[in-house]
């Protein structure tokens, strides 16, 4: 599926958060979004996923989701959003129960995503008994369970140690190679963005606008672990924003 | 021949014994009625249940509710039950020990004192105002305390929170004997031939089912006669008293074993009007009082209240 954003703006009260965002997210592309804290990344993602509606502009989805996809536009939330009254397993089962799947089928899916996120052992724990990273992995497992055609990820690896996040990042890449899903990926880790993105969208400080879009043409499979030049480039873009923001604060 | 079925509302008081006797001894059956006794906790719901048609016949004191329901064309009085008569042991005027100690010795001392009632418009209210009238002061000059239940009034009297009350003799005597309060007079001295309770039914039964109503009254009167003979006039000896007391105990003071209950039942027995005669003069007097107190509409008439075609009236 393909997503097209045209002149999307969003205001909260009298706070303009997003200002005329134009963005194409092509089928099978992973678009990474980076930008200063509070610039509107999560808001943009909520708009794309249809959880909020834009004040002006339009967001359109093109194409049909592939067969076997249970929820075309799927989220991984920044604050996990686990139901405290459901165990790990049941939290994942939640998103499958509305679909006509056999119990066996459902259990297979749950087992597979738990294994991929290394949570098998904790399948019957309550969320309050999990560490921060484990909660985030449950969120990821839940999203993978519905086999999404567009995956909307809000800092999905932020609470994870570097090893686990490395493993899950590789997992995501593997998954993408197999299924070629479309994805919007918010991160504050530039090397992550460069590793997995076809496009890196750099947003300006609030009101969020698109400052630059960097296309990365190397095949994802062929990328080096680190691409220092590109990282430096993005880093400088963002630093300018940060400095400008600081100056604004000092003057106003 | 075909039996008519009726529901008879009763309170679990000795004064309803006529119904218990008629039922237990089969007098209703003899009159061609399949009767069912429906016990109530209070008189007011019984009157309303007759209006709603849930029960057919009942016995209670004349109250504002009764008059109002009669005015709405729901019920009719068809006979009398308990009556006060001069010379016969009747309701007593009681004062609390505290009031007695502070000098209340006769009814005329009640001016400015408080008097216990169940509710505004109840028979206690009527008695209090009649006592005041006869003693020559206005009923506004005694402060009336509605306390809802007899039990509550007893408590308030014993603890001296109200000064006076009037009540049936067996309760009054028991209180007097136990030192809880003092008897200072008889209600009968203030109200002539007070018709305390009446037999009543729905207007529909009274006007459209005359045969049924007559049969009921006949059976009930038989119960009244037996009760008066055995319990009041003691014409049939101790064993009859014992067996009738046992019969009544099926309905009254059931939560106490027979031995404890028998005394209370016998002490609480009061004469019922033979043949269900009705003191119409007293009823009229009461109706006028209700009107004067603005408890019922001024348009209320005795014709709507009483159907005089069933029993002797005087």
């Amino acid at each position: 599926m393909e997503l097209v954003l045209k002149k999307v703006s969003k205001t909260y009260g009298d706070l303009l958060v997003l200002n005329e965002i134009n963005l194409n997210i092509n089928e099978g592309q992973i678009v990474c979004i980076v930008g200063p804290s509070g610039c509107g990344k999560s808001t943009l993602l909520r708009l794309i996923g249809g959880l909020e509606s834009p004040d002006t502009g339009s967001i359109e989805a093109r194409g049909t989701p592939p067969p076997g996809c249970l929820n075309p536009l799927t989220y991984i939330f920044q604050d996990f959003s686990l139901l405290p009254w459901r165990t790990v397993e049941e939290n994942i089962s939640l998103v499958l129960e509305d679909h006509s799947l056999s119990a066996i089928n459902r259990n297979e899916i749950i087992e597979s995503v738990l294994q991929r996120t290394k949570l098998t052992e904790f399948s019957d724990r309550w969320p309050r008994e999990l560490s921060g990273g484990m909660k985030q992995r449950v969120g990821i497992a839940r999203a993978l369970a519905v086999n999404p055609s567009v995956l909307l990820m809000d800092e999905p690896l932020s609470a994870l140690d570097s090893q686990t996040s490395e493993i899950l990042l590789n997992d995501l890449i593997e998954l993408w190679k197999k299924q070629n899903f479309t994805s919007v990926y918010i991160t504050h880790n530039l090397s992550e963005a460069i590793r997995i993105g076809h496009k890196v969208v750099v947003m300006s400080r609030r009101p969020g606008e698109i400052r630059e879009i960097v296309n990365i043409d190397t095949d994802i499979a062929d990328r080096k672990i680190r691409n220092i030049e590109l990282e430096e480039h993005l880093w400088n873009l963002l630093k300018d924003e940060a400095i400008a923001a600081e100056r604004e604060l000092e003057n106003g | 021949f075909a039996q008519d079925s009726i529901n008879v509302g009763v309170l679990r008081f000795t004064s309803h014994s006529a119904a218990f006797i008629a039922y237990e001894k089969g007098y209703f059956k003899e009159a061609g009625l399949t009767a069912k006794l429906v016990p109530f906790q209070a008189a007011a719901p019984m009157a309303i249940a007759i209006a709603s048609g849930d029960i057919d016949y009942g016995v209670t004191a004349i109250s504002g509710a009764l008059v109002n329901l009669a005015e709405k064309g729901a019920i009719r009085i068809i006979g009398g039950a308990l009556t006060e008569e001069k010379g016969v042991d009747g309701q007593k005027i009681l004062v609390s020990n505290k009031a007695y100690a502070s000098g209340v010795r006769k009814a005329s001392d009640l001016k400015g004192r408080s008097f216990g009632l169940t509710q505004t418009g109840s028979s206690f209210h009527y008695m209090a105002s009649q006592i005041a009238k006869k003693e020559g002061f206005s009923s506004k000059e005694i402060s009336l305390k509605p306390l809802q239940k007899v039990g509550v009034i007893i408590g308030a009297l014993k603890s001296g929170q109200i000064d006076a009350w009037s009540i049936v003799p067996h309760i009054a005597k028991a209180l007097h004997k136990s030192g809880g309060a003092k008897i200072i007079g008889n209600v009968a001295d203030y109200i002539d031939g007070y018709q305390i309770t009446t037999i009543f039914t729905s207007k529909n039964n009274a006007t459209n089912k005359r045969a049924l109503t007559k049969n009921f009254l006949a059976a009930y009167s038989k119960g009244i006669k037996e009760f008066n003979d055995v319990m009041i006039d003691k014409k049939r000896g101790a064993s009859a008293i014992e067996s009738t007391t046992r019969l009544i105990h099926k309905y009254v003071y059931t939560s106490r074993p027979y031995k404890k209950a028998a005394g209370s039942i016998q002490a609480g027995s009061m004469r019922l009007q033979p043949d269900g005669r009705l003191n119409l003069t007293s009823v009229k007097h009461q109706l006028d009082w209700f009107k004067a107190e603005k408890l019922v509409p001024a348009s209320a008439s005795i014709k709507n209240l009483v159907d005089t075609s069933y029993v002797k009236t005087y």
Partner: protein, 268 residues
């Protein structure tokens, strides 16, 4: 999920519902429809005069109340008892509820007693209330006090049980005093449930005014209603009930107002 390959469609908005919109016009409309049905039903005799009085009769009862000046006396007397009883009951209820919610020892000792005394019907206790508290204002206020006390206790400690423990840990990590944690974390966290309970206890208090004014009350809406009931004067009965109802609505509106002010941090 059509079969066509290149359909262009806007992303559907999924975040609707479960949100609170104001439709102020509805409740007056419902109310007026109800009034009309009532009037027509009683006028054509579909509803018997035993079941409900005509609206006009109720109006006359109101008029009588107003003309004689009794309205003011009745409402005034009841309001005084209601406000005093409810305030005291709520005050002690919150204190006891917090004690049970915060101290294991108190909970063990008091919670069963509360559970045992709460279901005791205050009307049944009227005889004892009179002995204990007399027939003056005290026993009337006490009936309302006890009636609101117990539900408040239970609601408050239920709310405290439901406070997010991680916020309390946060307070402890900053060495906030026990009192600060209680006041600044436990209390605000349980406030929504406590306010929601106020709706219930306010209604209970109004219900109990009738029971309270069974005792030797000369004035008061409860006494008025009670007298109307015992006389089967259903026009006056309904007039009294409508007054109680209005008191309930006013209380409800006040609580709604307090909720708006005190809970503005919630995202309704």
């Amino acid at each position: 999920m059509g079969k066509k390959k290149y359909d262009y469609k806007p992303v559907p908005f999924r975040g609707s519902g479960f949100q609170f919109k104001n439709n102020y016009w509805i409740s007056p409309v419902v109310f007026i429809i109800f009034l009309i049905l009532w009037h027509v039903g009683t006028t054509i005799g579909f509803i018997s005069n035993l079941v409900l009085p005509k609206p006009a009769e109720v109006l006359i009862a109101f008029h009588d109340l107003y003309v004689t000046g009794d309205l003011y006396l009745h409402v005034g007397a009841s309001l005084k008892r209601l406000i005093l009883g409810w305030t005291l009951g709520t005050f002690f209820g919150i204190i006891l509820g917090f004690s049970i919610g915060l101290f294991s020892l108190v909970r063990a000792g008091l919670a069963p007693i509360v559970a045992a005394i709460f279901p005791v019907p205050k009307i049944a206790l009227l005889p004892l209330f009179i002995i204990w508290f007399g027939i003056g204002e005290l026993s009337k206020v006490n009936i309302i006090l006890f009636g609101t006390l117990f539900p408040t206790i239970i609601a408050v400690y239920g709310a405290i049980d439901n406070v997010d423990r991680s916020l309390i840990r946060m307070g402890q990590s900053f060495n906030l005093s026990w009192f600060s944690i209680t006041r600044k974390i436990v209390f605000p966290a349980s406030l929504p449930a406590i306010l929601s309970n106020f709706r219930i206890t306010a209604a209970i208090a109004i219900i109990l005014i009738v029971a309270a004014e069974l005792i030797a009350a000369e004035k008061g809406i409860g006494a008025y209603v009670q007298m109307a009931g015992s006389l089967f004067a259903i026009d006056r009965l309904l007039a009294g009930i409508i007054i109680l109802s209005c008191l309930g609505l006013i209380a409800n509106w006040l609580i709604g107002f307090a909720e708006k002010k005190l809970l503005k941090w919630r995202n309704l």
